[in-house]
Symmetry: D2
């Protein structure tokens, strides 16, 4: 990651012969090759750019986005609530730009795998590029097919749903999940949440809960510290549940 300040940071590949243009001058990406993380590099205008380790957060925020992406504030809680870790096998319905896919792959690698379904071929193509750029494609299988026709995998450790009609895939999710294993569904509207919760209960899911995660940035300037004036007010609700074999 090339870092100048809070608003000028990019995840880039070191590559001989390529240049990266910024309003603080041109950076030769080939020059990055001899550098270690933590060191600085000078632009053509003499500005110093830091070379930092890209974290999962940066990979997620750096994706090309033909769609609304899932945000780190939501993804973080999902990882804990689904218990994702090295070796997990996970189904995702609704790849979108692949932001959630990248985060999930980075946590389940190298022994786990993400099977992600995306009906829109253009989204599937861009998600693939995003995953390749993030160096995570080998831990992911992108399937350009409609999740509503069912999943090919079984006994998976978790299911992630990011679709406009999550209830359409809940029976398939139930069929593919291991016993007692968790699922999450992300939805922007309250009406989607209500219908999802009804469907989960009808399909033998238990431990159903819904939360919203709100991220509030703080502008810290000693002596003038305050929350930022504008913030993202809402991305969506997260509904979690676990598969049970019996309804009662």
């Amino acid at each position: 990651m090339l870092y100048f300040d809070e608003r000028r940071k990019w995840v880039l590949k070191a590559e001989i012969g390529r240049e990266f243009h910024t309003d603080k001058g041109i950076v030769k990406l080939g020059d990055l090759l001899g550098k270690r993380f933590g060191e600085a590099i000078s632009s053509s205008l003499g500005y110093s750019f830091k070379i930092l380790r890209p974290t999962t957060f940066d990979l997620v925020m750096n994706v090309a986005r033909p769609t609304q992406i899932m945000y780190p504030k939501d993804i973080g809680l999902i990882i804990l609530k689904l218990g994702l870790s090295c070796g997990s096998r996970v189904i995702e319905a609704g790849t979108g730009s692949g932001a959630m896919t990248i985060a999930a792959a980075s946590v389940v690698k190298p022994h786990g795998h993400i099977f992600t379904y995306e009906a829109n071929p253009e989204f599937a193509r861009i998600a693939k590029q995003n995953l390749m750029r993030a160096g995570l494609i080998s831990y992911v299988t992108i399937k350009n097919k409609d999740a509503r026709t069912g999943f090919d995998e079984s006994e998976v450790d978790a299911v992630i749903i990011d679709l406009g009609d999550p209830w359409d895939v809940i029976p398939s999710a139930y069929a593919s999940l291991a016993g007692g294993a968790p699922l999450v569904s992300f939805s922007p509207t309250i009406n989607q949440v209500e219908r999802t919760v009804i469907s989960l209960r009808e399909n033998n899911f238990v431990n159903v809960s819904t939360v919203e995660v709100i991220l509030r940035p703080l502008r810290v300037e000693p002596g003038r510290t305050r929350p930022t004036t504008t913030m993202i007010g809402h991305t969506g609700y997260l509904t979690f549940a676990q598969k049970s074999f019996s309804a009662t």
Copy 2:
């Protein structure tokens, strides 16, 4: 995890001869041995308890707590911002009850390791028990020593600070971090945040940002859906930064 409803769920160990008493009757923990996740078990009063997979969330929330713990809403974002994944070597300053330690260990295992420092011997002891119960102790080294005297490890992938005086260990964190690698500090008060940010800047950290994560539970009852009446208003602020070799 034994699940009855949202308020009655426990992470327990299946064990022959032991009983677990609830207000819905007694559950014989030995009977769990022949069961699979997702199945149900009957209590002495005839109530059905579900046997669910405990996720990282459950392990975190289930710790014995002599101290305030870090919450999943905060831990989740930390995992993404620090880029924790299988194989990461991480220093934690301020083990407390070990809630953060459990989550970090579950993500870096089996190839990574958490080196966690706790000055209070009683906290260190309870954290050890919590990590053993969670089955994660082999990925963690608990050091009962004061983090301010320095860390024994070097070139670590990330540092997590959960201390009342985070600025005391920032120079040590800098010394132990790999170049360009990230750090997080958790603090309840704004004054701690200000002083932490000043110290980070003085110690060659860059990409410094502070956020607050707010979790808002939704009570979903079709036709009567609303946010819950009470909520946790504040746990603390998260300040992130990355190590740079040069100040400018």
Copy 3:
């Protein structure tokens, strides 16, 4: 208002011969008569209680509460959005404990009036007592009848609805409002809000908007300042609209 600290403050009437018992000793309410606001009075245990001016906020928070009350954070915005001021004639449907009624009366007095409808005779009785204690009963007419049967007033300046089924009284509210005048409806659930908005649009209301007001207390202790740990997460949503004669 008798004030000891943030948690020990009461709106009381100075009265010869009566005593007020607190855990910091007994205060003779008759002794208040010779005192001015801002002065202090000693309890039997020698503690100093301040005599402060009760504000509308204190009168609202001090009501006897058989019902959930509307909170100052919501009432304040209602006053501005409805343009309440001295002389306003206002209908309220759903008096409840009279908290909103007290605030509205305090703003429209001495030239305005609140006509408030409460179907439950017990609530109406308690609201009357609350308004008498607040010294505002002469600016309020409490009608113990069901708001759904229609309002007796016409050409009123504003209508306030705090009922479980607000849509039932929206046609009556329309009939009683002056042209172009505003209305507010308070509801805890999102489903009520949706149905209220639909009804408002069907009944020729325009400028329809819904907001939620969240109050976040800050615990200010120099050097240890932070938001409070617990807070009220949700009271309800406020939906505002104005009467139009034509739908399009």
Copy 4:
């Protein structure tokens, strides 16, 4: 108020011969004269605009703004916490654009008065225009002088401070307030709040509390209801206190 939709509404004066240009056509402001509130008027392009009653909210949001204004969410709570009502005599330090002044004047009129101090002559001039447009100038005295040199009034019912250095005027506020009467100070940063609270305590103010009011708009579309994507994250903190004659 001329209303087309949520984003196209203006507080205007009916005036023969003047035209108002919108992207939905031209409206002849003279035509408004024969109309009643609640009726509609056609633009030159045939669109229907509603004529609605402007409320205090609209007057506040409609001010010309050379400065950051105080928002209705904050003003509403201030009115209740200060107990403003018909007849109140109020000092305001820091008129700014006059948004708070307009709301306060609308509540204390016709028997009360606002004495507002603004050091910046340009702000004072614009505030005067805003108050004249709102029809409230006769209830307000704008003083183009520095509040730090003291206030001319005494025994006032409330003081409102909206200055960068509120502590500078707290002794003057104390001197001018009636015994037991309330004060509010609005500040964007936490550091200002801390210093204000210290100053209030040093100056014999009691019942000191600080809150933040957050307004969350809801986008209500039946079947697709959700909080809005963006929102104002922070305007400022409100610190309330009351004058006591004795410190202990």
